[in-house]
């Protein structure tokens, strides 16, 4: 008898999706209600996860579904950010007129897919989760049908993502062929160091996952999709798939393939260095805030990968810390972007920020905090994220990686400073409305305060994450 207790949260969210869908079909003009109900069901889902002992370690369904500290923590992170994303974008989707009933339901199904990904302990299950989240994301990217950029971004994401899924699946089949199993534990037992097929399989899987977190050289889709999608979807893209993909990265690299670390370590190091450098340099010339944050997220993923490339628990923990902190920084950034609204029109060019500090001191202060934090300047939280990563990297004496990474933060600082310059030093240009919905205000206030005051007491986050021991 399988103990279903542990997957109550997944069951609940599936049921919620179906009930909400039925309600939406039979009840007219219920999009607002469904939106709020989806937020509520995410809260309930969070409560269900927290209800069970978080340090449980069980494997369900023939060891293909794993509930452990890592998966529980990442799910909590995922659902928390889901809640914040929905809270902050409720006004946006009304004004851009994409407040259809499908919108929150697609968000929920994508989150379900990610939860499956996070818990998967089997290649097939992992692939199913990945496809579930991707399918929902294709639709979400092109949700603003009237906007040609949005359609383009959906199509672009679909085509490229299908390609990468193909590679991923090919990698999975190679690994199955050379190890005789799709279960991570069994692969780890039967692994044969010398077979080239296995190495190719790993490379294909890493390629597919690198595509999902938009690491260089598989980043091409990110800027276009970030720019084209509605902002409420961009914030989703920027945060949630990355949490899921990093977890899968950890699981695949460190459970079945830990013994052949010398085979994949160099690949991850390369991805990391390329992402850090490319993301920092390419962002310099950008004019659109969403496009800029796309490049910035490419470089941030480079740092997260640097933590993963180390091959120690410390490295994994630093990477998870990085993702957790990155989540709040992005949330704060996009909450600021959501506030640039006047006459039912949203502004997303960097030039629109010109002289913002004259009329909106608090909003510009939040921008200031977020941007310096993204640049990694102490004592803001972004510094600690990088600090933990480089602590782990230097422990293994990977000095080249550390020095390149830190030098690219200097390059990156330049384009963050450019935005600050436009906000604070340039003459004023636009004046925006200041009545925002409470959800947006909460998410901005919460994330900004977290960024600003994390340094006072950094221990709790570290202590929670320190319990994640994969190796």
């Amino acid at each position: 008898m399988i103990n279903l207790n542990f997957i109550y949260s997944e069951i609940f969210i599936c049921l919620a999706i179906m009930i909400l869908l039925i309600t939406g079909v039979f009840k007219k003009n219920s999009s607002h209600l469904i939106y709020n109900l989806s937020i509520l069901s995410l809260f309930a889902c969070l409560a269900l996860i927290l209800n069970f002992p978080i340090d449980a370690n069980v494997e369900l369904f023939n060891n293909s579904y794993k509930i452990d500290y890592l998966s529980s923590f990442m799910k909590i992170l995922l659902i928390l950010s889901g809640i914040f994303v929905l809270l902050s974008s409720s006004k946006y989707i009304q004004i851009v007129k994409i407040n259809k009933i499908e919108y929150p339901i697609l968000v929920l199904s994508s989150i379900t897919g990610m939860m499956v990904m996070i818990s998967s302990n089997d290649l097939i299950l992992f692939y199913i989760g990945l496809e579930l989240q991707s399918l929902a994301l294709y639709v979400l990217a092109s949700f603003n049908r009237e906007n040609i950029l949005s359609s383009e971004s959906g199509l672009k994401y679909f085509v490229l993502s299908a390609l990468s899924s193909g590679l991923l699946l090919y990698g999975c089949s190679l690994i199955y062929g050379f190890s005789g199993s799709t279960n991570f534990n069994l692969i780890a037992e039967n692994i044969n160091m010398d077979s080239y097929g296995l190495t190719f399989g790993i490379i294909f899987i890493i390629t597919g996952l690198a595509f999902k977190i938009s690491a260089v050289p598989f980043h091409m889709w990110a800027p276009d999709v970030y720019e084209g999608s509605p902002t409420s979807v961009t914030i989703f893209f920027a945060i949630l798939p990355k949490i899921a993909a990093i977890t899968v990265f950890i699981r695949i690299l460190y459970v079945p393939f830990l013994n052949i670390i010398d085979q994949w370590q160099i690949i991850i190091v390369f991805l990391s260095i390329a992402s850090m450098l490319f993301g920092s340099i390419a962002a310099i010339g950008q004019k659109n805030l969403k496009r800029l944050i796309a490049y910035s997220s490419i470089s941030h993923m480079g740092y997260a990968l640097a933590g993963l490339s180390v091959g120690t628990n410390q490295g994994i923990q630093s990477s998870i810390t990085y993702i957790s902190i990155y989540l709040f920084m992005n949330l704060a950034f996009f909450s600021c972007v959501f506030m640039l609204r006047r006459d039912d029109k949203y502004f997303e060019n960097i030039e629109d920020l010109s002289g913002l500090s004259k009329n909106h001191p608090l909003l510009s202060f939040s921008f200031l905090i977020v941007l310096f934090s993204l640049a990694g300047i102490p004592p803001l939280v972004g510094f600690f994220a990088k600090f933990y990563i480089f602590t782990a990297v230097i422990e293994q004496s990977m000095y080249t990686l550390a020095i390149i990474g830190l030098l690219s933060t200097v390059v990156a600082a330049f384009y963050y400073l450019r935005i600050i310059k436009i906000i604070y030093f340039d003459p004023e240009k636009e004046k925006y409305e200041s009545n925002h919905n409470i959800g947006l205000k909460i998410s901005l206030a919460f994330s900004t305060l977290f960024i600003l005051f994390y340094f006072i007491y950094p221990s709790p986050l570290i202590e929670i994450i320190e319990k994640i021991n994969i190796i």
Binding site: I377, T391, I394, L417, I420, Y424, F425, S459, E463
Partner: protein, 497 residues
């Protein structure tokens, strides 16, 4: 448990800045905010004087220690002071109220934000001088970039954006290598606590690279030739109070860092790299003095003179003699007072004439007699005339240098002559001569707040020039101990060989 006086020094300005940030002030004069900022910074000054009173100069141990677990099992928040750091703290708390008073005439818009930035700067700078953990030190050291970037960028002159970016990126680039070094130290020794590291010592084979990484950060901040180019730009564009903070305190963070970390943690590497430091310092002294002679902009001239003076400081530090090190600290304090005073003086006439070009002035002595007198004192202080603090610092450094190398000391002495040349020439061109312009005839002499600021700088410059004992006494034992430790480390290496 004792009253946590150091943390109070750090926190008080921060709390003040939070109050000011959230206070609503409708009127254009911002009177309450100004008084609040002045009160906070002055209270901090009194507190630091009290600290000096409590301070026991007869021991080289760290005093007023506070330790608090910060990142569990990894980094502790640890602050404490010894004879080396206390003077810098007092310098910081002394200069900040003067900056706050000086905003009256120099800052025309967004005064509230400016005062917030100044007070946050004060907090961070005090933090730098009393932190006893490398990571905490780095946090304060780098955190100062944010307010300074804004001070230059928002309230600066025409090329403020360029200067602010140059300042920020130069310093950040220098410091990231220091971060790598700090993390490496943690993995090599298992701690970032400076007191433990002093006892533990760092293995010789690591010292050279670590020293270079720290050097890259401090050299940019000092600034040493050839990475000094951000300083003239930043000084020229920053508002008066910003220049004062930059010259008086920010530059001292690097000198302090050299003494506390480079010498304290890496004695063998410090000995090894002496030629590098001497060459760079001498180039800074001679070359930037010559450059200063050619400047047409007053602020730029003073900025280049700062580079030259800091060249003396680095030279003195790396003589590893009692006189050289004491002289360096004295010179830093003296330069903090003198350069702050000079920038404030330039600010005074800039507010009246809106130009910093030397050629536009001349003959000020007949219209601004009081100004001419105080500027004379500051100029002589910068030249290093006996009876001012500048003399004692340079004199001690040169004694230290003579002990170490005759040639180095002779070349450095030429710098003293050059500094007299450019400073006195500047004074002559601005104050004496004929009045060339009609606007100068109408210029008003110092007003009350300016007299207050400038005279409160004249007093310590002359007082400590004649009676340096209090300052030298405070530092003496700590430096003796530092040199003793340094020699012990070197000898132990020689014995091993």
């Amino acid at each position: 448990m004792d009253f946590p006086i150091l943390s109070s020094l750090i926190l008080l300005p921060l709390l003040g800045s939070i109050f000011i940030f959230f206070s609503k002030s409708k009127s254009n004069t911002y009177l309450t905010i100004k008084y609040l900022a002045l009160f906070v910074s002055f209270a901090n000054f009194i507190l630091s004087l009290y600290l000096w009173y409590l301070f026991d100069p007869s021991t080289s141990e760290f005093q007023f220690l506070e330790e608090q677990s910060w990142i569990k099992g990894f980094i502790n928040y640890k602050v404490g002071i010894d004879g080396i750091s206390i003077l810098f703290i007092i310098l910081t708390t002394f200069i900040t109220p003067l900056c706050v008073v000086s905003v009256n005439s120099t800052i025309k818009y967004r005064l509230k934000d400016f005062l917030v930035a100044i007070l946050i700067m004060e907090s961070l700078m005090i933090g730098v001088f009393c932190s006893l953990d490398l990571v905490i030190f780095y946090l304060f050291f780098e955190g100062g970039l944010i307010p300074m970037f804004l001070i230059i960028g928002i309230w600066g002159g025409d090329r403020r954006v360029y200067s602010a970016f140059k300042f920020f990126l130069y310093t950040l680039l220098g410091s990231v290598l220091m971060l790598v070094a700090i993390i490496s130290i943690y993995w090599i020794t298992g701690t970032t606590d400076v007191m433990y590291l002093y006892n533990l010592g760092i293995d010789q084979k690591y010292q050279y690279l670590l020293w270079l990484a720290f050097f890259s950060s401090f050299a940019v901040k000092t600034p040493m030739w050839p990475v000094h180019t951000w300083l003239p730009d930043a000084h020229v564009e920053a508002p008066t109070a910003g220049s004062v903070l930059l010259a008086a305190i920010l530059l001292k963070m690097a000198g302090y860092g050299f003494i506390r970390f480079s010498i304290g943690l890496f004695p063998i590497a410090s000995e090894y790299f002496i030629p590098l430091i001497y060459i760079l310092s001498l180039i800074a002294i001679i070359y930037t003095s010559l450059v200063a002679l050619m400047q047409e902009d007053m602020k730029k001239l003073i900025a280049y003179s700062s580079v030259a003076h800091m060249g003396f400081v680095t030279l003195g530090i790396f003589t590893f003699t009692q006189q050289g090190l004491e002289g360096s600290i004295f010179q830093m304090i003296s330069h903090g007072l003198v350069s702050a005073a000079l920038f404030l003086s330039v600010g005074v006439i800039y507010e009246r004439m809106h130009t910093r070009l030397i050629a536009n002035y001349g003959g000020l002595v007949s219209v601004m007699p009081k100004y001419a007198i105080v500027l004379m004192v500051f100029t002589l202080g910068a030249v290093g005339l006996p009876g001012t603090t500048g003399f004692i610092g340079e004199f001690l450094i040169l004694i230290g240098a003579f002990k170490k190398s005759f040639l180095v000391a002779v070349i450095a002495s030429i710098g003293v002559i050059l500094s007299a040349a450019y400073m006195l020439w500047l004074y002559k061109r601005v104050i004496f001569g004929e009045i060339k312009k009609n606007e100068i005839k109408k210029i008003a002499d110092l007003n009350k707040s300016e007299i207050f600021i400038l005279s409160s700088l004249v007093l310590p410059i002359i007082f400590f020039g004649f009676y340096p004992e209090p300052l030298l006494n405070t530092t003496e034992i700590s430096i003796e101990n530092l040199i003793e430790m340094y020699n012990k480390n070197l000898n132990s290496i020689l014995i091993e060989k």
